[in-house]
């Protein structure tokens, strides 16, 4: 797992991709923080949670190559014929992407240090927001990695991941837009029930709403479990999808 992690992480920096992604993170965080700061709200957590929408677009670029490129260049043959469990390869790659993502938030530590020198701030709020955005990222990376394992080209992978992420982005609005018909007879009642459940499902995809609650400054097990379970589910699905490929 460590070998795969090291190689994958290094590979982000053998081409401009890793640098470009970090630059986007640093620019946006700096931009947002200075914006809030000049508005008299020197809270780093605002900036941390504020870039979530844009991350839905950036994260697919981190995950697009994870498995699709290996398959295209046949380098997966060295991975899958090595005496290593498939899940360890998947985890190695997942963590490489995740560490790159987490590095994107490194400068916020400096912001926090500077801010706490001048203003009295509650460190918990910042840490809790950071935990939230990292869990949010982990879920997005797991989904992107899964899509990547289904395709043979990074372009297809990034496009499909973007479609999924755009759906996540608009799911809140979509769920509100779905209204159940007024129910009078038993079959309209059944229909209304189906529509409501569907709206629940779409609403359940609203990562951004869950992430918002990490800014509410009260620890919630439910929200943490939400992102972790999505992450674990998609890591598992990635492993299955790679295993399935051997059988077809």
């Amino acid at each position: 797992m460590l070998a795969v992690f090291k190689r994958e992480f290094k590979s982000y920096f053998t081409n401009p991709l890793g640098f470009v992604i970090l630059a986007i993170f640093y620019f946006l965080l700096g931009y947002l923080f200075s914006g809030y700061y000049s508005m008299g709200a020197p809270y780093v957590e605002y900036a941390v949670l504020g870039i979530a929408q844009i991350l839905l677009i950036v994260v697919p670029a981190i995950t697009m190559r994870l498995f699709s490129d290996e398959r295209r260049t046949k380098t997966d043959q060295v991975l899958f014929t090595a005496p290593v469990k498939l899940i360890n390869i998947v985890l190695g790659k997942f963590f490489a992407a995740f560490v790159l993502y987490a590095l994107g938030f490194a400068p916020t530590i400096i912001y926090q240090i500077i801010v706490s020198a001048y203003v009295s701030v509650n460190l918990f709020y910042y840490i809790y927001a950071l935990v939230g955005i990292l869990l949010f990222g982990a879920a997005l990376i797991a989904i992107g990695m899964f899509v990547s394992s289904l395709t043979e080209s990074p372009i297809t992978s990034i496009i499909f991941t973007l479609v999924v992420n755009v759906f996540i982005m608009i799911s809140g609005g979509l769920a509100n837009g779905i209204t159940a018909p007024s129910a009078t007879t038993w079959y309209t009642k059944v229909w209304a029930w189906i529509v409501e459940r569907f709206a629940d499902f779409v609403g359940g995809m609203n990562f951004l709403a869950v992430l918002d609650s990490f800014g509410n400054q009260a620890f919630s097990v439910k929200d943490v479990v939400y992102f972790i379970s999505i992450t674990v589910a998609f890591i598992f699905l990635t492993e299955r999808s790679l295993e399935k490929r051997r059988w077809s």
Binding site: A3, S11, N15, K74, T75, Q77, F80, P83, V84
Partner: protein, 350 residues
């Protein structure tokens, strides 16, 4: 060392490998020979655990590749058809990665140094793989397979795309490694297999059609022998003259090949050596014999014929591996009869 029983692999409805069984003992160097698309790579990918199998059982050193894949994989070094190289890495960096990935126990630096020396890539160790030529990439791929010093080496067309000098080098390397490794090597180039392998397994249409030691196989395959004589003469007279030589079964005129010279194919009776008789007969007629060559089908030619066979029964017949002796004139009819049989068998399977 390697035991394969009843191995089949199906891609969707396409049967790529059908009921293949063989066993390879420690220290053997075995060549998989077959035309493109015969199923060689598929079998190798299954042995190395890259692909699953549809049916059958594969064990490496007693470890089942399906049930205990890690132990089985630990014993295999695999060089796929396209070397699995990360082109954005440097040679040494890549080999270090493979070393870590395979969880090798040997001391790292000396082990990798030794392998790089063995395949002669030590002078490119700090170059990016993407800047290396095909030959060097192939060697890096080879080095990758050798890391961890596995007992079994599986090499899928190891010399493809190399220049003649490199081919010789790689062959020598395989011969050297063959002394203390079990090696499976695939190729569609016969001379390569002949050069390095003790034993040959011929695969065609996903089936094994021959599995024997090289010497036995050569003997079996090259039963068909005739002579070709080139003589400066008058074609018709010489044809009659040659036919009357003692021990000659039949002579066919092959036409004019050089100015004034004609070729004749001479089929001797079984076991008869007619060379002396032919040369003295030509001399008697005061003609000049330019050459007398054996037109014994080389393995290469037989193999070429094999790849053109419409099905495996036909291929076996071409190789003379079927036990049924048939008259040459019936052969064409034979194909027509064989074909529907082959189809019904496949339908029954599905």
């Amino acid at each position: 060392m390697i035991e394969v029983t009843g191995l089949s692999k199906r891609y969707g409805t396409y049967l790529a490998v059908e009921n293949v069984s063989f066993s390879i003992s420690k220290g053997e160097v075995v060549g998989f020979l077959g035309p493109n698309g015969a199923g060689k790579s598929t079998i190798m990918n299954i042995l190395t655990g890259y692909l699953s199998l549809t049916q059958g059982k594969v064990t490496i050193d007693g470890f089942d590749v399906a049930e205990n894949p890690e132990e089985a994989k630990r014993r295999i070094g695999y060089l796929p058809e396209l070397p699995p190289l990360y082109t954005d890495m440097k040679v040494r960096e890549y080999l270090n990665f493979v070393y870590d990935l395979k969880k090798v126990k040997f001391p790292k630096k000396p082990h990798i140094d030794e392998i790089m020396r063995l395949v002669r890539i030590d002078h490119v160790q700090n170059r990016l793989i993407k800047n290396l030529s095909k030959g060097y990439r192939q060697r890096v791929g080879f080095a990758q397979a050798l890391i961890g010093n596995p007992d079994v080496l599986i090499l899928d067309e190891p010399t493809v795309g190399l220049d003649p000098q490199q081919i010789i080098e790689i062959r020598n390397l395989i011969t050297r490694l063959g002394k203390n490794h079990t090696i499976i090597l695939s190729s569609h180039i016969l001379s390569e297999i002949q050069a390095v392998c003790d034993r040959i397994i011929i695969i065609n249409y996903g089936e094994i059609i021959a599995d024997d030691l090289q010497d036995n196989l050569s003997e079996k395959l090259s039963t068909d022998h005739s002579l070709v004589a080139r003589v400066i003469c008058d074609e018709r007279d010489m044809l009659a003259a040659l036919k009357s030589v003692k021990g000659v079964k039949d002579v066919t005129a092959l036409g004019k090949k050089e100015t004034g010279a004609y070729d004749f194919e001479i089929i001797p009776e079984d076991g008869a050596d007619v060379r002396a008789g032919i040369s003295s007969r030509v001399a008697e007629r005061k003609k000049q014999l330019l050459s007398l060559t054996s037109s014994r089908l080389t393995l290469e030619q037989i193999f070429l014929k094999l790849t053109q066979a419409p099905n495996n029964d036909e291929a076996r017949r071409m190789l003379g591996l079927d036990k049924i002796e048939e008259d040459v004139s019936n052969e064409e009819e034979g194909i027509i009869i064989e074909m529907p049989e082959e189809i019904t068998v496949e339908e029954g399977e599905q």
